[in-house]
Amino acid sequence: MSTTILIKRARIVAPGQSNNGKTTDILIENGIITKMADSITHDQAIVYQSPELMVAPGFMDLHAHLSDPGFEYKETLESGAAAAAAGGYTAVLAMPDNNPVTHSKSQVEYIIKRSAGLPAKIYPAGAVTVKLEGKELAEMYDMHQAGAIAFTDADHPIAHAGVLLRALQYSSNFGARIHVRCEDPQLAYGGQMNEGVNSTKLGLKGIPAVAEEVMLAHHLAIAEYAQTPIHIMAVSSAGSVELIRNAKKKGVPVTAAVHASHLLYTDDRLTEFDTNFKLSPPLRTQHDRDALVAGVLDGTIDCITSGHRPEDTECKVLEFDLATPGMNTLETNFSMVCAVGKFNAEQLVNALAVQPRNITGIKVPQIEVGQPAEITLFDCTQKWIYKKDQAKSKGVNSPLFDQELQGVILGTIC
């Protein structure tokens, strides 16, 4: 980067760092923070300023389905990275549920090679099991050597206890964490939305919260036995928050994430069969939503993810039962977190930038003179409109198109 960037009057939000809380001007030259002072002037610099400008270590998303290779009509690495940057992310963990599945070195290398030079760093997550089938371990060591920083079967649960135990033990050798989605396939069988009064009114088959909790309890027991860190993706129920809270108290090495959508919405959104709100895990009740927010506030849930799953019209504009679950969220996730209205700037940056890196063992970018600049600039007080015709993501499935949202990403530098 040969440009010069001047950030005016920004409050540094960098929990745990020496400059946290300071309000200052920041000069970035050739990608390096070269000066931090009260009033910097520079003639040629690109200037960022906003009434309540904040600067934070670049956000990192641990749960995005970038769909490339195989589903390029839904998203490509290019469009996904552009959406990520627009949404304030400088780093994204790309889910392996592509076609072919990211379950060997060559697929990992494809993602790394194809994402070089894109506006956000794309880190590949390798599959835990071959073809995400939950049966046979994939070559995780080889993938790790090639650049996969974490392993997950994406939204496919690993129901086989033996497979999960061996995956945890095996990957702990080289320090890569296993990320798991918890949902018992038998209890969730045929389910279209949260089981509750709304599913009853709509005649849609419900996915009970116990489907998630029963597998979570099972996974936590295995992680405790293996004494190996496990990361729980996309927590959705109050019962799950409680299980994780108790496990952490007991010293089980567990971390957890929640999608912003689940902090913001409930299954009340489904009363008109809007497939944009058909998600996996499903949106649950106000009680669950409150518990998830409380879980983020007390650190039970470590990070907030996007769960970005871009879809095309053919997968979303059809009968509810047939629609693919998921929401296009990379560009709006920050505004969705702001809309929850419960987090201060430090909590927000902790959940969006710091903890995702702690979980994946990536160094948190430091906002200090002499350090490479990997930062996100935002203003929680400003408003913007997510215009459908200007969206970076190819996904048609956002309920927020052409709506005014609070919480603006002014830019990312990385």
Partner: protein
């Protein structure tokens, strides 16, 4: 009394007001007189074309709608999934739009997916009547059931109605609950726990697992058909055991010490949810329901079509 419905489509009972339901029932009253005359046909829907789209098997609902349409002098076309391009991968919107391109005014649709009619109403330009969408709603069945109760007992208000059977997979149960509640009846559901939605009590209905207790409580028992075709996994070991616990026979009916009205949306599995003796008894209004079905569907089609004139 107002003469127009508050809705453009009949997607479910949920979206109707009590006044809408009362208007449909009073209009049905008039049409029942019509279909009992020597000349059963009226010209009300002349020049209106109605497509009956059945993406799921149906005999009696389809015939009932078709008869209602013909008695109103509408032109009708029938379409069923078995003979359609649906199996070739055409989307629902494309299928329906192709039919609408032939200048069709109204669509009566049955579909296996809950919400399919709501989805269609959001994407196409025609009036839609839901003839059953998955386990969601079957509004005309609920309306004809209410109409039949009203005809037999004088009123629905204050009556105690129990719905017995597979509540989990039943659009009839759901529409009946909404309709009966809006008309002021008390509703109970009864069936095995595996076929009872966990949160059904939140809809304001009583839940009972013992058939005898349910029958002792009620004025009307609506015995649902056990729909094995909707059950992709086993919810009870055998029909025999279901009948042992939830089958209604004459000794049981006699033993409750009062006369209750017996209903069934059909088709009956005789000897499963209800014995022939009960189905054919004077307490049963099952065949009245069938007759009332035509009158109620005439009322619905007439009232929905009426909005185009204004």
């Amino acid at each position: 009394m107002k003469k127009k419905l508050s809705v453009k489509h009949l997607l479910g009972i949920k979206s109707l007001t009590t006044e809408d339901i009362e208007l449909i029932l009073s209009t049905a009253e008039q049409f029942r007189d019509v279909i009992n005359r020597p000349i059963k046909k009226v010209p009300s829907l002349r020049d209106i074309t109605i497509a009956n789209l059945f993406f799921e098997n149906s005999t009696r609902t389809r015939i009932s709608f078709e008869l209602a349409e013909k008695r109103l002098s509408a032109d009708t076309i029938n379409f069923s999934a078995a003979q359609s391009s649906v199996k070739k991968g055409e989307t629902l919107i494309d299928t329906v739009n192709n039919i609408l391109a032939m200048k069709v005014d109204m669509v009566v649709m049955r579909h296996p997916n809950p919400g399919a009619c709501v989805f269609l109403a959001n994407h196409i330009d025609a009036k839609i009547v839901n003839a059953g969408d998955g386990a969601h709603e079957h509004p005309t069945q609920a309306l004809l059931d209410a109409f039949s109760i009203q005809s037999r007992l004088g009123s629905v208000r204050g009556k105690k109605v129990v719905i017995v059977g597979d509540i989990l997979h039943s659009r009839v149960a759901l529409s009946n609950i909404f309709c009966l509640q809006k008309l002021g009846a008390e509703v109970m559901v009864c069936g095995p726990r595996t076929l009872m939605p966990r949160y059904i009590g939140d809809l304001g209905v009583k839940v009972e697992f013992d058939l005898r207790k349910a029958l002792e409580w009620c004025d009307v028992a609506n015995m649902l058909r056990i729909q094995l075709e909707r059950q992709d996994i086993k919810y009870f070991p055998s029909l025999r055991e279901y009948t042992m616990q939830y089958g209604l026979d004459m000794p049981l009916l006699k033993s409750i010490g009062k006369e209750i009205v017996i209903m069934h949306p059909g088709p009956i599995n005789r000897g499963v949810e209800i014995t022939s003796e009960v189905a054919d008894s004077p307490q049963s209004i099952i065949l009245d329901q069938v007759e009332n079905g035509v009158a109620v569907r005439m009322a619905v089609l007439y009232l929905l079509a009426g909005r185009t004139d204004n």
